[in-house]
């Protein structure tokens, strides 16, 4: 069955409409559309958004298939309303050659739950010393346009400059993990009152801001596109705002967890809250929310970082950095941004679908508006639902969910990938392929 009529959805949270889908395309939007043998989906009260696009996902395959695979990660993505995710390059082997990015891309196609667009490493082995073959990755079947050493900072200023310049040849973008390495040696949590009290080595805001500022200036100097990953501090927001005011081609992302969680959660030394960049202060949270609302921060990206239990059930300093995010992203954004009046659903669609797709130049009809003739990538979200997050309620292989036990609003009811439901009635559809 390839025809659906979605009944009485609130398009971008506004007008109540029916949406007809056939053969992967939106064929009609209106009221009281004819059923025409289509499967009807009751979407009363649900918000229809374009399929979400995540610019920052760790799928862990190849290398850490105990934490996540492309298959399980894309299933988690579908449950979160995503139709496209960008797989970060810090796999093992690192996605620094055409061969590895093509492997990840192919695994995504086989998984079928959402499109997987690989991100290529900037430097060989994320080593920070030699450019990876960026052109080969761009020309590969994976068609890579986003390059990032995420997890590590391209800290060498000359190498960063060269990377920014080089990717202009194929309209690429360098997505920087902004972390001055010397200022963050052994860093465990946000540097502030609490790090001093807990005796955990601080990760100062200045270590992020120094790199963000340097990279903005470099990108302007060479006329390149720069994307700042997981921006987390008030200072970074102000620097990006300043760079944009100059007309520089800088974009930035914030993670759901940096929109909601603060460093005081570290007090109990539970590594579930250990993440890089670290959870910051309530003032930083207010600043990234403002930044996302006024457009200084362009997008929300999950930085979904699954880890096996044993890497979190240990002492803080031995634990891995990172938290899951795909299945809770839209709920967190609703809670932090929509229910607070900072964003409309239309603006959420822009920040979680249209803009990330534009930054990555991804094809496949992602980030397109919900209009007749467009590919039927869409998500139906119930904003009136609430749920208490449980770590076991996941399609991911991992359980490192920092929202466990928290009550969050909203629930993804259905996700359509090119007209095929990957999630329906809140359940993964097992026979997607």
């Amino acid at each position: 069955m390839t025809k659906y009529v979605i009944r009485r959805a609130r398009l971008l949270g506004e007008d109540v409409v029916d949406i007809a889908i056939a053969d992967g395309v939106i064929t009609a939007i209106g009221t009281d559309l004819p059923a025409d043998e289509a499967t009807e989906v009751d979407a009363t009260g649900l918000v229809a958004l374009p399929g979400l696009v995540d610019l920052h996902t760790h799928l862990r395959e190849p290398g850490r298939e105990d934490a996540e695979t492309v298959f399980t990660g894309t299933r988690a993505a579908a449950r979160g309303g995503f139709t496209c995710v960008h797989a970060m390059a810090n796999t093992d082997p690192v996605a620094d050659t055409a061969g590895v990015v093509e492997q990840v891309w192919r695994l995504g196609r086989e998984a079928g739950y959402c499109d997987v667009q690989p991100v290529g490493a900037v430097t060989v082995g994320l080593g920070g010393t030699q450019l990876a073959e960026l052109g080969a990755m761009a020309e590969s079947a994976a068609n890579v346009r986003v390059f990032s050493d995420d997890g590590k900072c391209v800290s060498d200023a000359v190498l960063m400059r060269r990377a920014l310049e080089y990717v202009k040849a194929f309209d690429g973008v360098v997505a920087q993990h902004a972390q001055e390495p010397r200022l963050t040696e052994g860093a465990q949590m946000n540097e502030g009152l609490l790090s001093g009290e807990l005796g955990l080595t601080g990760w100062p805001a200045a270590a992020e801001e120094a790199i963000v500022a340097r990279d903005c200036v470099l990108a302007a100097h060479v006329g390149s596109r720069l994307h700042v990953c997981h921006l987390s501090t008030r200072g970074s927001v102000e620097i990006v705002r300043w760079a944009k005011s100059k007309g520089w081609d800088v974009t930035a992302e914030v993670t759901p967890h940096h929109l909601l969680l603060t460093d005081d959660l570290v007090r109990g030394y539970d590594p579930i809250y250990k993440v890089n960049p670290p959870l910051r202060t309530a003032d930083d949270v207010a600043a990234v929310r403002e930044g996302l609302a006024d457009g200084t921060i362009d997008i929300v990206a999950t930085d979904h970082a699954p880890h096996p239990m044993e890497d979190k059930e240990c002492e803080w300093s031995a634990a891995a950095f990172g938290m899951q995010g795909l299945e809770t992203a839209l709920s967190v954004v609703q809670h932090a941004m929509v229910d607070t009046g900072l964003l409309t659903w239309a603006q959420v669609a822009e920040r979680m679908s249209a803009t990330p797709a534009r930054i990555s130049r991804v094809g496949g009809g992602h980030g397109r508006p919900l209009e007749v003739g467009e590919p039927a990538n869409l998500v139906l979200h119930d904003p009136a639902a609430t749920r208490t997050v449980e770590s076991t309620d996941t399609a991911s292989l991992s359980r490192n969910n920092p929202y466990t036990g928290l009550e969050l609003p909203g629930r993804v009811v259905a996700t359509f990938l090119r007209g095929t439901p990957t999630v329906l009635d809140g359940h993964l559809q097992e026979a997607v392929r």
Partner: protein, 319 residues
């Protein structure tokens, strides 16, 4: 008292005084020909040391044995995840063995906290030093030592109200300084932390202490001066230009010691770098109570184990 001793901040003023007074009573045991009480007979105390510290381990071992507890020493050097067992598995092993108390020393800040709260073990957890976080029994023995010198009639029942304590050195990395700042504040003392700005943690202005970059400024009013060990590894990490400069600016030499009030005592948690943070003459002077700190350490740890494991934990009204 709380079930565990993870931070000096876990102790109320009454708790702290109860520990110190109990230690005072137990100190007498050490002077007897037979240095043993039957109090913890049949109880098991595990010394779980992930970091080398012979001094602290034997202090806890002596304390537990003098209370007739069964003592198991478990030494797990190095990172718990690099090779071998995880902290969780170690904890579950100890639980299976029926540990009534786990004394843990760990290189990771917060490891005792994890052990106490993750549900891996039921025993009382005593923090014997965790990373750069805390070392609460050290603070208790320091307070005990101060009280016996600075209090009236040996200090029993008293706090340290109004006493001026100067703590000097690498506060940033010092678990001793953190625990002392908390406990001494609870006991009413005025604490001054003295260090070069590089060795004071961010946010120290919110601690209940005074801070100073200048050692000489606080000497004349000090009732006690505590010198912190400077780790060798700090010397190559640009926290200060050289060992000599550190010693000149922040070392306690004879000239500085002579500017202390008559009654003031000099303390050091050990092990000392003689000639670096403390002059040899100062360490061996009549004002130095450094050896006494070690003696008191056993009594204070006996008191902690007794109060946490000995069944005296629930009679709040007694204090």
């Amino acid at each position: 008292m709380k079930k565990h001793l993870l931070s000096a901040g876990d102790l109320t003023r009454d708790d702290a005084i109860r520990v110190l007074d109990t230690a005072q009573e137990l100190l007498g045991v050490a002077q007897r020909p037979i240095k043993k009480l039957p109090t913890l007979r049949g109880r098991t105390v595990v010394n779980l040391f992930f970091e080398d510290s012979t001094r602290t381990r034997i202090s806890f071992e002596a304390a537990a044995k003098r209370l007739s507890a069964d003592v198991i020493n478990f030494s797990a050097k190095g990172s718990s995840v690099s090779k071998g067992e995880s902290l969780k598995d170690t904890a579950m092993t100890l639980q299976a063995m029926g540990a009534d108390a786990v004394v843990i020393r760990h290189h990771a800040s917060g490891a005792p906290h994890r052990l106490a709260t993750a549900g891996w073990t039921n025993g009382a957890v005593v923090n014997a030093g965790d990373g750069t976080h805390e070392h609460p029994t050290q603070a208790l023995l320091d307070a005990f030592t101060m009280r016996s010198h600075l209090g009236t009639d040996g200090g029993v029942g008293q706090d340290l109200a109004g006493k001026n304590v100067t703590i000097v050195g690498d506060v940033l990395h010092s678990r001793v300084a953190r625990s002392n700042a908390l406990l001494l504040h609870t006991l009413g003392a005025n604490v001054t932390l003295v260090a070069p700005p590089t060795l004071l943690p961010v946010g120290v202005d919110a601690w209940p202490v005074e801070t100073s970059y200048n050692l000489d400024d606080s000497l004349e009013k000090a009732d006690a001066v505590m010198m912190l060990r400077v780790q060798r590894e700090r010397m190559n990490a640009s926290y200060f230009p050289s060992a000599r400069e550190y010693s000149r600016r922040y070392g306690l030499d004879t000239a500085r010691m002579n500017r202390l009030p008559e009654h003031a005592i000099v303390m050091h948690p050990g092990p000392m770098n003689r000639g670096m943070e403390i002059g040899a003459d100062v360490a061996d002077s009549g004002r130095s109570v450094i050896v006494e700190q070690v003696t008191n350490g056993v009594a204070v740890r006996m008191a902690v184990l007794y109060l946490l494991v000995g069944g005296a934990t629930n009679d709040e009204g007694e204090a």
